[in-house]
Subunit: 259 residues, 2 copies
DNA sequence: CCAAAAGTGTTCCCGGTACACCCATGG
DNA sequence: CCATGGGTGTACCGGGAACACTTTTGG
């Protein structure tokens, strides 16, 4: 259940663009004194990109706050307490802003904060960002200074938070395609239309035909039909399904399980 | 060329397993004093997983060093200097250990180091890990304390470095499948067998049939036949190809381009 | 002429795509 | 009986997997 470190069986990234160097000689370091790098103190903070899907509006939401001093919206964040792991800090920030029962949490990236760090100063700032996915319907806000924002709406961001959000969004899109994080955030029982809508909100409408989506997932066999039905006014009642973790295991190491 | 931050168009991860919480209420924070977290000082270090492919032996290598004090092999690493970005520090470490002209560099993950941090202590340790891919043939070692290791051989690792290596290996495997990092590390002109061997070393033999690999890549059209041939003793001369970045652009956002 | 290395082609089959169509319920 | 939402079926196409085959060189 709880994992402090990423597990080895996990699958790989196709974001995280790095640095390429071709043909130019990488210079040797100026001198051996580099081996004894002067000690620098870092203030480490956590920034959280908290996502949620509003099934009624059928849209993807991010949780943002207005910081007292600066203008523009900012990600919920905080420093790391003594004796508190990075993940624990991320978790704490979630629990401080919303009252949540179901969530998925994952480290995103560590950003330097060169703007705040003076070159000559010995103090440095480092922001470790996480992204979280929570169930909107069951996550009332705990703090008055934060609010849900539709992701595709134009938002005035503070500092480089726009970038972190974009990065988290990419990660979410990709994650959702091969990983069953949807079921961390959906009710235990759900209809296939619920599931389809969830994917539509994140990947955009028409990421796949509904009927194909349906038959593909059912063929894979990790969705158990509970036999129960859900009646929503007119129309045929919808079957309620449950996610079967055991049955999903074989697909753990496979790309593009969903979509 | 040089990117300090991951770009937004990048594609997504399927490693980075996070934390799931289902059904259990996430408790509210003990008190409001959490909003004013006591300041903790971090020592930030960089650990590098440097990979390389030995085309003669046809195997994947990692660069490891023996640290003076502890037993077991360790990743090359160092603290971050004042006024030095995380990536610059990673780059410096590469240049200190090997003399390299071509490389790919990317941030991996940030690890807490709970073992070294005392619970009551105000000092904390944080390790930001990077992975690098370098061209073996053109990367003579600069330091005597490091050596190449065949990745699949049993290695006695120091602390949690085994974990970081595994993590980096996963990332490499996935990265290689959709991203053209192979061409950062291959010569400008290469035969398709060279390319195939590169993938074999990383993904394991028989990740795909050679002839299918060949026809698929050629059909995509971002490999330009230079017309030049390479003669290696007996046998038909091999055509030399070049990677065409422009022509690759359309596939930037596509999974499983290679393999 | 043979072996070695490189390159081409062919067949089969599965899985995605795009639809059209059938079913159950409320009004 | 019709609108509405849910579920099923089918016909086509492309791309991957496996394998056989041809081409060009050196000895």
């Amino acid at each position: 259940m709880s994992k402090q470190r990423p597990s080895v069986q996990d699958k790989g990234v196709w974001e995280n663009r790095g640095w390429e160097n071709k043909g130019q000689e990488v210079p040797a370091s100026p001198g051996q004194e580099c081996l004894r790098v002067p000690r620098v103190e870092f203030s480490v903070g956590i920034d959280l990109v908290i996502f949620s899907v509003d099934h009624d509006q059928n849209c993807l939401l991010v949780l943002l706050g207005r910081s007292p001093q600066a203008r523009g919206w900012a990600l919920p964040g905080s420093g790391v307490g003594p004796g508190e792991s990075l993940q624990a800090a991320a978790y704490r920030i979630v629990s401080e802003t919303i009252q949540v029962q179901n969530l998925y949490l994952e480290q995103l990236y560590s950003f330097d904060e060169p703007l705040r760090s003076q070159p000559s100063e010995s103090r440095r700032y480092l922001s470790v960002s996480y992204f979280a996915l929570v169930r909107y319907e069951e996550a009332p806000l705990r703090s008055e200074s934060v609010a849900w924002h539709v992701l595709n709406s134009p938002i005035q961001f503070q500092a480089h938070h726009q970038e972190i959000v974009q990065y988290g969004y990419q990660r979410l899109r990709n994650k959702v395609a091969y990983s069953p994080i949807a079921f961390d955030v959906l009710p235990v029982q759900f209809t296939l239309h619920d599931l389809y809508q969830f994917y539509c909100a994140i990947l955009g409408d028409g990421f796949a035909d509904y009927s194909n989506f349906r038959s593909k997932l059912l063929k894979l066999g990790f969705l158990r039909d509970t036999g129960e039905k859900l009646i929503r006014g007119a129309g045929r009642p919808a079957s309620l399904f449950q996610f079967d973790r055991e049955a999903f295991a074989p697909f753990q190491d496979q790309p593009l399980v969903f979509v």
